[in-house]
């Protein structure tokens, strides 16, 4: 058993290998974070947590943008993340104002309460 582990490690050059990180790793973290945020947004019924999940997805998109910008040695990726953060801040302010409004009206944070609002 130890032989196999040792040879696998040796094959991967484990102790000394620490060179360039790869684009795919960052993209995977970003994709996984986005998927987690999506699952949360679809399942949770508390409006505040739903908005937190959208922030999680923004964060994932930001990591992907910066990683791509790094890959192409281009600052546009980071510049775009600045605007993403701006929009996220604006969205948070408006969404939370709406949540407070809803809470004062219905004393509940459940997303289902919005279902009756028509017109």
């Amino acid at each position: 058993m130890m032989d196999v582990i040792a040879s696998t490690l040796a094959q991967s050059g484990w102790p000394e290998a620490m060179p360039a990180p790869t684009l795919a790793h960052y993209l995977f973290v970003s994709v996984a974070m986005f998927a987690i945020g999506l699952v949360g947004f679809l399942t949770r019924r508390n409006l505040i947590i739903m908005f937190l999940c959208t922030e999680l997805m923004f964060q994932a998109a930001g990591i992907a943008l910066v990683a791509f910008g790094r890959y192409h040695l281009d600052y546009n990726g980071q510049t775009f993340v600045i605007f993403v953060v701006t929009v996220a801040a604006a969205e948070a302010a408006l969404a939370l104002a709406l949540v407070v409004l809803l809470f004062r009206k219905r004393e509940s944070l459940s997303a289902d309460e919005w279902a009756e609002m028509r017109g």
Partner: protein, 352 residues
């Protein structure tokens, strides 16, 4: 063990391919999906710990597979990537699965900190700190305020009680399937590439594309031409330029400076000029300088629009939250019921 050792050696590549072949990949993704699904809050006994364990195993296996695959091209990310990446994913999972909104928000701060670490590894220092300041410092505090404003315990002895909509999640299975099918599709693209899009294109499916070397001087160095103050200060700090000397500009007003050859022309007070060259590794353009030039030089219109968006959001929030809201009948009845229940409880206490 010797036999196993030999098969491992002789079939190194097939073994790696077998580990990350699609079926294993999809099994790992399915494992993570089942874990997330189990970890979501639900009524009754909820197998949260088991779900968290499964999800951790799934995501850990995926990252491991990614590393084995990337190793074929000899590119392994630095160990801090694993720390920050796994902390970010774990905390993200906790944001989604924690039944209490306050804890979810606190875990989101952990997500922000971990992804700031990832951005630091990507040498996006400004974005890393801006993320912490704007997200963890401003947006999340607003969230916490609203959570505390809008979450009230039904009565004093039920402070720990959770609202019904926090205790039970909506259709965990369907949502987990949707989210993780998306994850599977995108991970497949990551591992296999999108294939040739045009005739003659090579499928980028073999080996991970490595990120570029940390300090690629030539890409940023041209910016030095537009940073005369920085060049002068640093040259003086290096002792290459005296205080009464200045950089020379040519007829068109451009600095006489060659960022690639690392040379600049300076003029002495008596009018004679000389060429100064600085050693390699000095006078680097920092991340924030490059970002600032990119932001203000190439996207000035977008900054204006961002300003307008923020202003409108501020006005909207003020207008919305100033509005006096009448409680509707149902809410009034609910409040009346709660008050009478509290009165009864105190009456019972007094009697006993």
């Amino acid at each position: 063990m010797g036999v196993a050792d030999r098969t491992l050696r002789s079939q190194g590549r097939p073994l790696l391919n077998a580990i990350i072949n699609p079926i294993a990949l999809y099994l790992l993704i399915a494992l993570a999906g089942v874990g997330v699904c189990l970890a979501l809050p639900r009524k009754g006994p909820s197998p949260q710990a088991l779900g968290g364990l499964l999800a951790a195993a799934g995501f850990g296996g995926l990252v491991l597979a990614l590393t084995l695959w990337a190793n074929e091209s000899g590119a392994i990310p630095n160990p801090y990537f694993y720390v920050f990446g796994l902390v970010a994913l774990g905390a993200g999972l906790r944001v989604v699965t924690h039944p209490r909104p306050v804890y979810a928000a606190l875990y989101f701060i952990l997500v922000v900190l971990a992804s700031a670490g990832l951005l630091l590894i990507l040498s996006a220092e400004f974005m890393a700190f801006a993320m912490i300041i704007v997200y963890a410092g401003a947006i999340l505090i607003t969230y916490l305020f609203v959570i505390m404003l809008a979450t009230q315990a039904p009565s004093e002895d039920m402070i720990d009680a959770l609202a019904d909509y926090d205790r039970q999640s909506r259709e965990p299975v369907g949502a987990a399937v949707a989210g993780f099918v998306l994850l599977a599709a995108m991970t497949t693209l990551l591992f296999r590439g999108i294939g040739p899009t045009e005739a003659g294109d090579h499928a980028p499916g073999h080996g991970a594309p490595a990120l570029v070397a940390k300090n690629d001087a030539s890409a940023d160095a041209a910016l030095l031409l537009r940073l005369p103050g920085k060049v002068e200060t640093e040259l003086r700090e290096l002792g290459l330029m005296e205080h009464d000397e200045a950089l020379v500009r040519d007829a068109s007003g451009a600095l006489m400076l060659d960022p690639v050859a690392r040379e600049a022309v300076v003029v002495e007070p008596d009018g004679t000029t000389r060429v100064v060259s600085w050693p390699e590794g000095e006078l680097n353009v920092q991340n924030i300088e490059g970002l600032g030039f990119n932001l203000l030089d190439e996207h000035p219109g977008s900054i204006e629009i961002a300003g307008v968006i923020l202003l409108m959001a501020m006005l909207g929030a003020v207008v919305l939250s100033r509005k006096q809201v009448e409680m509707d009948e149902e809410a009034k009845a609910r409040q009346a019921r709660r008050l009478s229940a509290e009165l009864q409880a105190t009456a019972v206490e007094r009697r006993s």
